[in-house]
C-alpha cells in the first residue's frame, strides 16, 4: 500500500513560565492512501499537538518542533518554509477543528469563508468558486445552498456548522484530512450523522483521514487503524480489529475497559486510576508505570522498544519481554 504520510521521531516542546513541556516525545506512525487512522488518547496526551505539527500550526513561540520528519507524498514538511507550507495547507492537507461553534468567523458569511481558500489558492473567479461552494454544500448535506451561502454562522445549528467546516476543509480537494475531535462538541445524534458523512466523503473522494479523538465509539465506527497515544508517545498501533480484540498494552486495555460496550453485557466498567505524568519532567521509563497494574522495576528505568507482533500491530511494553512472561506465570499478581 502506498504511504501518503510518514511521521518519524516527531518531537514538540513548549516553553512556558513553569519550564519546558515535552508535549510530543518521539512519535512514529504512517498513514496509507485512502485509509482512516485514529489517534486515541486522554486529553493532554499530545494527540492534538501531533496533528497541529503535521500542519505546522504549532505557535512559535512558545511551541517548537525540535526533531523528526513529517514526510508527506515524499517531501519532508518539517523542513518547509512557512511560505511554502502555506501552499500545502488547505490544498493538500486540510484540518477540521473540535468546536464548530468557534471555528467559523462570526462576522463573515458562510459563502466568504467557504470560497476564500479556493480563490486564494487556485485563483478561480468568484463565479466558479460559488459553483464549487454550492457543490460542496450539497455534498455535506446542506439544503438550499445558494441561499445559505449568504448567511452568517450564528444562523446555523452546531451540526450544520460542522458540516460547513467539513465543506471548507474539502473544497480544494485535499489528499489528507486531519479531523481533531470532530464530533466531541456535538449531540450524540448529530455525531452519528457527521461520522456517516465522513464515510460518504471518503468513498466519494478517496481522501485519507487522520482522526484525533478520545472517544472509542467514534473510532470503532470509522477507523481502519488505531494509534494509542500516552504522555507524548504512541504506545500501541494496530488495525481496529487488533486493538479492540487483542489489546497488548495495559493502557490500551484500561482504555477499553473504561468504555461501556454493548457487546459485553454485564461487564463492569473499570476506570484507570491516577492521572498522566507531568510533562514538565517526563519519567525516563514508561510513563504509564505509576498507573499500571503490571508495573515492574524495569518499567521505571528504561522505555521499552517497539515490538512488532504482526505486520500492522506494534506495542511498546516490557510485558512483551520473555522474562516478563515468565514472571507472570511464576509470581501471579495479587490483584
Amino acid at each position: 500500500m502506498e504511504k501518503i504520510l510518514e511521521v518519524t521521531n516527531l518531537q514538540v516542546t513548549f516553553t512556558t513560565y513553569g519550564g519546558t513541556v515535552k508535549a510530543v516525545r518521539g512519535v512514529d506512525f504512517h498513514l496509507n492512501k485512502g485509509e482512516t487512522l485514529a489517534i486515541v488518547g486522554e486529553s493532554g496526551c499530545g494527540k492534538s499537538v501531533t496533528s497541529n505539527a503535521i500542519m505546522r500550526l504549532i505557535p512559535n513561540p512558545p511551541g517548537k518542533i525540535t526533531a523528526g520528519s513529517i514526510v508527506f507524498k515524499g517531501k519532508d514538511l518539517a523542513k518547509y518554509s512557512e511560505k511554502r507550507m502555506r501552499s500545502i495547507r488547505g490544498v493538500d492537507i486540510s484540518m477540521i477543528f473540535q468546536d464548530p461553534m468557534t471555528a467559523l468567523n462570526p462576522t463573515l458569511t458562510i459563502g466568504t469563508q467557504l470560497m476564500e481558500g479556493l480563490i486564494s489558492h487556485h485563483g478561480v473567479s468568484s463565479k466558479e468558486a460559488k459553483k464549487k461552494a454550492i457543490e460542496m454544500m450539497d455534498l455535506v448535506g446542506i439544503s438550499n445552498p445558494e441561499e445559505r451561502l449568504k448567511q452568517y454562522p450564528h444562523q446555523f445549528s452546531g451540526g450544520m456548522r460542522q458540516r460547513i467546516v467539513i465543506a471548507i476543509a474539502l473544497i480544494c480537494e485535499p489528499d489528507l484530512l486531519i479531523a481533531d475531535e470532530p464530533t466531541t462538541a456535538l449531540d450524540v445524534t448529530i455525531q452519528a450523522q457527521i461520522l456517516e458523512l465522513f464515510e460518504k466523503i471518503q468513498a466519494a473522494t478517496g481522501v485519507s483521514i487522520i482522526l484525533i479523538t478520545h472517544d472509542l465509539g467514534v473510532v470503532a465506527k470509522i477507523a481502519d487503524r488505531i494509534a494509542v497515544m500516552y504522555a507524548g508517545k504512541i504506545i500501541e498501533t494496530g488495525t481496529k480489529r487488533e486493538i479492540f480484540y487483542k489489546p497488548q498494552h495495559p493502557y490500551t486495555q484500561g482504555l477499553l475497559n473504561s468504555v461501556p460496550r454493548l457487546d459485553l453485557k454485564g461487564e463492569k466498567l473499570i476506570p484507570i486510576d491516577g492521572t498522566p505524568p507531568d510533562l514538565f519532567s517526563p519519567p525516563a521509563g514508561c510513563p504509564f508505570t505509576a498507573r499500571c497494574p503490571f508495573a515492574m522495576e524495569v518499567c521505571d528505568k528504561v522505555y521499552p522498544a517497539s515490538k512488532e507482533l504482526t505486520e500492522s500491530h506494534q506495542v511498546n511494553c516490557w510485558l512483551q519481554d520473555e522474562r516478563a512472561k515468565q514472571l507472570l506465570t511464576a509470581v501471579p499478581l495479587s490483584k
Binding site: T289, A295, E297, V302, R323, L327, L333
Partner: protein
C-alpha cells in the same frame, strides 16, 4: 541471557538485567501526587502581582506618595498659603526644594498638600462609587426579574448622561468645594461599578456552589456575604484602581475650567492652572511639579490596575 551492569545505552532488551523483571512495590497514592503546590486564590494573585515590575513600581510610588502626603508638609518650614511676594518665582534651591510660585509660596509644601487633596478626592470618590455600586448592582443582580429590570433601566439612562457635563452643571449650582466636588463626581460615577457588580453577581449566582447553599436553605444575606462578595471582589478592586485616577483627572480638569477647589486648599489641578502663564516665561518648576505628580499618580494607578487585572483574572492562570 546476558546481563550487563552498565546502565547506559541499553536499547536492546537483551542488555537489561534480569533482576529488574520483578513486580514493582506499589507505593499508594504515587499516581495522585500533584506536582505543583496549589496556592489560595489571593496568595496566588499576590504572587503574580509581585512579578509584575510595572505594577510594583506603581504601588511603591503610591505608598511613598501617601506617606509624603501625610508627613511632607511637616518636613517643610513653610505654610501652604504663606505668601512671600518679594521671593516669587524662586527656582528650586536649598530653602525651597521645588522653588516658589507667583505669590512666593513654597511649591514643595503645596505639592504635598495637593497630594492630600487629590488622593482624598480620588479615594473618596472610589469608595462612594463602590458602596453605592455594590448595593445597587448586588440587589439588582441577586433579585433579578422585575426589580432587576427597573434598576437596570435607571442605570442605562444614567449611563447615557455625559459624566463631566453633569459634574460641571452640579458644581455651577452647588459651588465648588471639596465636598461638592466629591458629590458631583459620584452622582453618576457609581453606575459603572453597579454594572460590573451586577454582571459578576449574575454570573456567579448560578454557580453550583451557590445553588448548593441555596438548596440547603441558607439565608440570602449569608449567601451574599459568604459566597458572592468574595468572588466578585477581583473586578471590583480593578474598577476601583481605575476610578481613582479618573477622579483625580476630573478634579484637575475642573480646576482648569474654574470649578476647582478654592483656597485655602491647594490641589494639583489648581497649582497647574495657576502656573500655565508662568511656564512661558521660563519658570518651569511651578508647572512641572504638579504636572509630574498628576501624571505619575495616574500612571501609577493605571499600571497597578492593569497589574491587578492580570493577577486577579483566573482565566489567565497557567
Amino acid at each position: 541471557m546476558k546481563a550487563t551492569k552498565d546502565g547506559k545505552a541499553m536499547h536492546s532488551p537483551s542488555q537489561i538485567p534480569d533482576e529488574w523483571f520483578k513486580w514493582k512495590e506499589k507505593d499508594e497514592g504515587a499516581a495522585e501526587i500533584v506536582s505543583r503546590p496549589s496556592l489560595s486564590y489571593w496568595k496566588d494573585a499576590w504572587r503574580r502581582l509581585l512579578k509584575n515590575k510595572l505594577a510594583m513600581l506603581g504601588l511603591v510610588f503610591l505608598v511613598i506618595l501617601a506617606i509624603m502626603a501625610i508627613f511632607g508638609p511637616i518636613l517643610s518650614p513653610y505654610e501652604v498659603n504663606q505668601q512671600d511676594l518679594p521671593n516669587q518665582y524662586q527656582p528650586p534651591s536649598e530653602e525651597h526644594w521645588f522653588g516658589t510660585d507667583n505669590a512666593g509660596r513654597d511649591v514643595f509644601t503645596r505639592t504635598w498638600y495637593g497630594a492630600r487633596i487629590s488622593l482624598f478626592v480620588g479615594l473618596m470618590a472610589a469608595l462612594i462609587d463602590v458602596t453605592i455600586g455594590i448595593i445597587w448592582g448586588g440587589i439588582s443582580g441577586y433579585k433579578g426579574g422585575r426589580t432587576d429590570n427597573v434598576m437596570m433601566r435607571i442605570i442605562e439612562i444614567l449611563y447615557g448622561l455625559p459624566y463631566l457635563l453633569v459634574v460641571i452643571l452640579l458644581l455651577v449650582v452647588l459651588g465648588p468645594s471639596l465636598s461638592t466636588i466629591i458629590i458631583a463626581l459620584t452622582v453618576t460615577g457609581w453606575v459603572g461599578m453597579a454594572r460590573i457588580v451586577r454582571g459578576q453577581v449574575l454570573q456567579i449566582k448560578n454557580y453550583e456552589f451557590v445553588l448548593a447553599s441555596k438548596s440547603f436553605g441558607t439565608r440570602s444575606s449569608r449567601i451574599i456575604r459568604k459566597n458572592l462578595l468574595p468572588n466578585t471582589m477581583g473586578p471590583i478592586i480593578v474598577q476601583m484602581t481605575l476610578t481613582v485616577p479618573s477622579a483625580i483627572f476630573a478634579e484637575a480638569f475642573l480646576s482648569f475650567i474654574g470649578l476647582g477647589i478654592q483656597s485655602p486648599f491647594a490641589s494639583w489641578g489648581v497649582m497647574a492652572n495657576d502656573s500655565l502663564g508662568a511656564i512661558l516665561s521660563g519658570n518651569w518648576w511651578t508647572l512641572f511639579f504638579p504636572a509630574f505628580f498628576i501624571s505619575f499618580t495616574m500612571f501609577a494607578f493605571n499600571v497597578l490596575g492593569d497589574g491587578l487585572q492580570d493577577a486577579l483574572d483566573p482565566k489567565l492562570r497557567k
